[in-house]
Amino acid sequence: MDNIAGQKSGLSIVTNVAVFLIVLAWLIPTVGLFVSSFRDRDQISVSGWWEAPFSVELTYRTRADDTPTRDGDLYVAEGNIFETGEVQDQFTSGANSIAAFGLRGREPGAFTAGETVDNRDGGTVVVNADGSYVYTSPEPLDDRGPRLYFLAESPPDFTMSNYAEVLTGLDEDERAQEIATGATFGELLFEEAGIFRNFINTLTVTIPATIIPILIAAFAAYALAWMDFPGRGLIIACVVGLLVVPLQLALVPLLNLHNQVGIGQSFLGIWLAHTGFGLPLAVYLLRNYMVGLPRDIIESAKVDGATDFQIFTKIILPLSFPALASFAIFQFLWTWNDLLVAKVFLPSTGDAQVMTVKIADDLLGSRGGDWGILATAAFVSIAIPLVVFFSMQRYLVRGLLAGSVK
């Protein structure tokens, strides 16, 4: 046996390393999204999220002092570039340094810090690493001061601004404007066309679309499991067969039907659709579970004079809690995450749009390059499912096993 013991310790290291690598590969994409959602937009475009904890070199533009002093024939503007009007908000920490500077927007980092170069005015300019600059010119300076560009190390910048923008649909300036006119952030959430509205829509779709099929399926599963009537086997076989029917098949005929009966594209329509599509799995899972409940309890309740309705509500429902919970989680995740049904059974624009549609159709289209916004929107949409998932994982796994392993 000792050769086995020997192999085991060797294998165990390999196993640990292999699992660690797989877990890392599984986790990295989501971590990237999470980190990106908190990063400043400028930083996202110049360094990868894996470099987020480090400072990055960003380009800034500003204007030198506009009140020069005279030094012989020359007009001289002096000062510290970090204290100039256009950038002073962004350098409040005090410990900043400049890597390069430039005089034109096309070459913001043409010269290294400390180098003295000629400027267009016929004088010279120098910007030192500590931010101090000297700008000289034989001519009087422009009213607003001469333009300067520089590259500076910018510290890691984690911000909730992406979230505020995604949730309200307003960028920083627009939010500031609205708040200046007296609106609170809460009002912005509800009144503006941000993703918060889609979030509420998703909830409006999801909650009834989770509860209704469970109710219907629980009654049906009870009938199929514990009531005797002709045609029972056929119905069960149908349910199993319907587990497989592709959703795509249902879209065109049902949308037409909804339009004919006047439901059209509405919340009611999408609840009914989700109910129909979720039912086979629900009936199947719940029936399998209920059949396994002890016959004695149900029979003794019947002997004591309980009606089927009482048996169902007082005995079966409480006993079936694990299966009900597991299906509820499934249906919740499925309806929350659904794109196809929402695209077809809800109006494609406006007030009733759910989050997945908003992200897939609106944000990816119009904000395709705005990675900070995309990351944040995606994270808002997966946050609730992740919370549900991690807090209810036990039930989910139990239900999965009850339904699929015999």
Binding site: I216, V245, L249, L340, A375, Q393
Partner: protein
Amino acid sequence: MSPILQGIITIIVGVGGCVGYFYFANLFLDKVLFPAKGPNAGRNINRANQIRPWVFLFPAIFALGLYLMYPVVGSFIRSLYDRSGDEFVGAGNYIRLFNNPDFRTAFLNNILWALVVPALSTFMGLLIAQLTDRLKWGNIAKSIIFMPMAISFVGASLIWKFVYAQDPDLGIINAIRTSFGGDPVDPLQIPFWNNFLLMFILVWIQTGFAMVILSAALRGVPEETIEAAIIDGANPFQVFFKIKVPQIIGTIVVVWTTITILVLKVFDIVYTMTGGNYGTEILPSFMMDFMFRDDGQATAVAFVIMLVVLPVMIWNILQARKEMR
């Protein structure tokens, strides 16, 4: 507050209506239609009990019939008419489809998806289930692998859009590539191979599902058979492939089929990642191209998907019948 209030009201009406149906239908049956008193009390109770299963089943049968059975027939009929549904064209839609090179691409890609994704997910799931079996931090590892199950296909696509991004400051793949001196490429535009990149997203989502079920199945393998094999000198690989896998082959097949069914329905990933461009079209996303403007073609594609699923469906029903006996 209006959207929230509106939401709450609609929720109460919807859920309340459903609860009301069961409660009052049952009450009606027992008190009004066949009251369990008077001269015919006994007969009435029996009659009520004959009808009750159908009261309980009615909403389910109605919803199943309307939302799943009617569409099978409805779609087929609809697929025989032209784009607006006015003129009967017979197999015209199908002929047009099979002459459409995009459809052929989508069909072939779909077959590729249906082969690769279930195979890879089941294999990875089995592998991870086995590897984490004796690990101290196995449960944490499993939770992390299982996590993508909670994420929407749209969310997952966005997550992977970051990974596959062409800009080496965004996409980790191109970051690694350029750090070795390569030029950044757009992985999603590499013909043929881009399909596998999209498939991997689904594998990423589904491996956790396979892992959870297969891990339970592995635990169910009787200890004695494993011990006997070890005493006979089997190495861990032999124990795994010759003792454990054959005993859980039934569960492997179930997992494989479940994922296959899912693959045939999924359209979100292709829709979000490439919109079906660069030769990545699959049938469900191809169908979306016709949705809302050519119902004839759209239903024809849906019916082709149905035909592809049909064998799985029949197998499922036979399996269920076998179990019930």
